[in-house]
Amino acid sequence: MNIELIIGILNIVLISTTPLVFAGIGELVTEKSGVLNLGLEGLMLVGAVTGFITLVLTGNHFYSLFFSIISGVILSGIFAFLVLNLMTNQIATGLALTIFGIGLSAMLGKKFSGTPIEGLNPYYFITISFLLVFLVSYFLFKTKSGLIVRAVGENHNSAYALGYNVIKTRYMTIIFGGIMSSIAGFYISICYAPMWQEGMTAGRGWIALALVVFATWKPWRLLVGAYIFGGVAIMQMNLQAIGVKLPGQFFNMMPYLATIIVLVFISSNKLRLKLSAPASLNIPFEKNQ
């Protein structure tokens, strides 16, 4: 193997893994505050289509990114209102958000699908994704605000009793997660495969969700996990192209399988489970308890 080939492989791994890092790190922060948002796939698709349409209409990448982010803020804002104020079931609401996002993006993008666009260099976002993991890790574990987010996620009643605004904190983390997912979508339709086609995220939102569990809610592990998932996928392609026979279906299910194994591992021990998962995850918060 020569050095050029290896650099080429790394290059492809970087490009294909970045959307997982964005969506995953956003969801990690949301879950750290005790909210499970299963709507990533929908958020990504709407982010992707909004970015694409804006780019077609204005030809400006900055506007395109801006409106993509706005779509994430609006959709995740709706999700936050439903689960925080109306206290709807988080799992059902998240699934509804995904289904809604798939349909909405297909409807919005119908007229624009198949318009050639000028793609954007993925390297800006690859760099930002590494920085982001560092910042999120610093924020969660080294700042007071990060401590509040974790406190709210571990025990919202105690956090509330201490005078922290649980609802406001969760609004912020949900919207942060929404923004990250929409950036992941933007990256897919503008940088990764510059096009819009229905359902083009092809399940990456679900892989990002699996990734958060795989990483046991730790930012750096999430980065490593994302590159393991991405790296394995690209390596199997390389081996195939060299002529090694591989069970391709197996590699398609690898991320989910690995996540289940991690889940089994961390839930086999109650203490380990407590140390890993935010204790208030998926539990609705009522103020007047």
Binding site: P19, K110, Q197, E198
Partner: protein
């Protein structure tokens, strides 16, 4: 009061609509992807639109998109059959058993299954001889490659796909015995990101021509970005990769769909197997890219099209050996349709094994 008025109004609307379309035939389609994929499903949808224009008010059409090739397909097909459709096109290979299952429940509804081989009294099968187009692009690729390495991105190991790989390789190796093809199985028809990854991986490994048997135009786009050549899939994809796109194999379903719908309207529909290629216009080549291809090569390709049409050239002319070195098609003979329909082996010269 208002509700009463609305009820009466809606009652009249239903009557008027059904009176207007009393003898209109309803025709349904099951799509594996979105009509906007600019590939496989897009071309079926173009066929549907052609049919609507050709038959006008005699028919009305419905389609269900993004139907997975599993038990969900049964529900989708049954939904169409139960809602009064007279003719249903199921447009992907792995809808085969699901189509038969529903066809048994609805003997009065006619079914047309694309690329399959199982038929019943009310189930026809139809397919296009895409491999004829693969012979043309194989010839072009064999002549145009400088690295003698061609990257080939494929979806699932089914006969149609493997037949395409073989036809492509036989034609390429005929004009360039040193040519090697590198194959990546994606196990999905449609995932633009993954298709782009596969294309980039192949280019990184030295391929200077990208061929695909998946449904999005991401591979062609990736080729454009990397400055190598590519062939489009199912529809003309030149707009997305003008400096890489040499030609595409286009699937032309419209005339067939219109003929079958007409047969249902006339009451002459019967179960049959249709497999057409260049000759009947079910497969066409997109305009050859004159910026990328030398004129004499374009001429050669066009002559090959004509030769295939009038039968003087066949994609699978003997002698053809399989990977084990056994003679599968004798010299002077061509592979028969039975062998082509069930082709699950690579011909000699292709590296790797067919996945099981």
């Amino acid at each position: 009061m208002i509700r009463k008025i609305l009820t009466i109004l809606s009652f009249f609307t239903i009557i008027s609509v059904s009176a207007l379309h009393a003898d209109q035939k309803k025709i349904g389609f099951i799509y594996i992807g979105p009509p906007g994929d600019h590939g496989w499903t897009y071309m079926h949808d173009q066929g549907r639109i052609y049919m609507e224009n050709a038959l006008g008010d005699a028919i009305s059409t419905t389609y269900i998109e993004n139907v997975p090739e599993n038990a969900d397909a049964v529900r989708a097909i049954r939904k169409l059959a139960a809602s009064g459709h007279d003719l249903i096109f199921t447009t992907s290979f792995n809808y085969m058993d699901q189509t038969l299952e529903v066809a048994k429940e609805f003997p009065d509804v006619k079914f047309e299954h694309a690329t399959g081989f199982k038929r019943m009294d009310n189930v026809s099968t139809y397919s296009a001889r895409f491999y004829e187009g693969r012979t043309i692009i194989g010839h072009i690729a064999g002549k145009m490659t400088k690295t003698n390495t061609i990257g080939y991105i494929v979806s699932f190991p089914i006969p149609e796909v493997i037949r395409g790989i073989n036809a492509f390789y036989l034609a390429a190796a005929k004009v360039n015995p040193d040519v090697k093809i590198k194959i990546i199985w994606n196990y999905s028809w449609y995932d633009p990101g993954k298709e782009a990854d596969a294309a980039n991986t192949l280019i990184n490994q030295g391929a200077d021509i990208i061929v695909q048997h998946t449904d999005s135009y991401a591979p062609c786009q990736a080729a454009e970005k990397a400055g190598v050549l590519a062939f489009g899939q199912a529809s003309n994809q030149e707009a997305f990769c003008p400096n890489a796109h040499m030609t595409s194999i286009e699937d032309i379903w419209g005339p067939y769909y219109a003929a079958k719908a007409q047969a249902v309207v006339d009451g002459t529909w019967g179960s049959e197997d249709t497999w057409q290629g260049f000759k009947d216009g079910m497969v066409e080549m997109s305009p050859y890219n004159t910026k990328l291809l030398p004129l004499d090569l374009i001429l050669e390709a066009k002559n090959m099209e004509t030769a295939i049409e009038n039968g003087t050239l066949h994609s699978f002319e003997g002698p053809i050996y399989n990977q084990a070195g056994e003679l599968v098609v004798k010299e002077g003979e061509v592979a028969d349709d039975g062998m082509l329909a069930g082709m699950m082996f690579y011909v000699q010269g292709i590296d790797g094994e067919v996945p099981q």
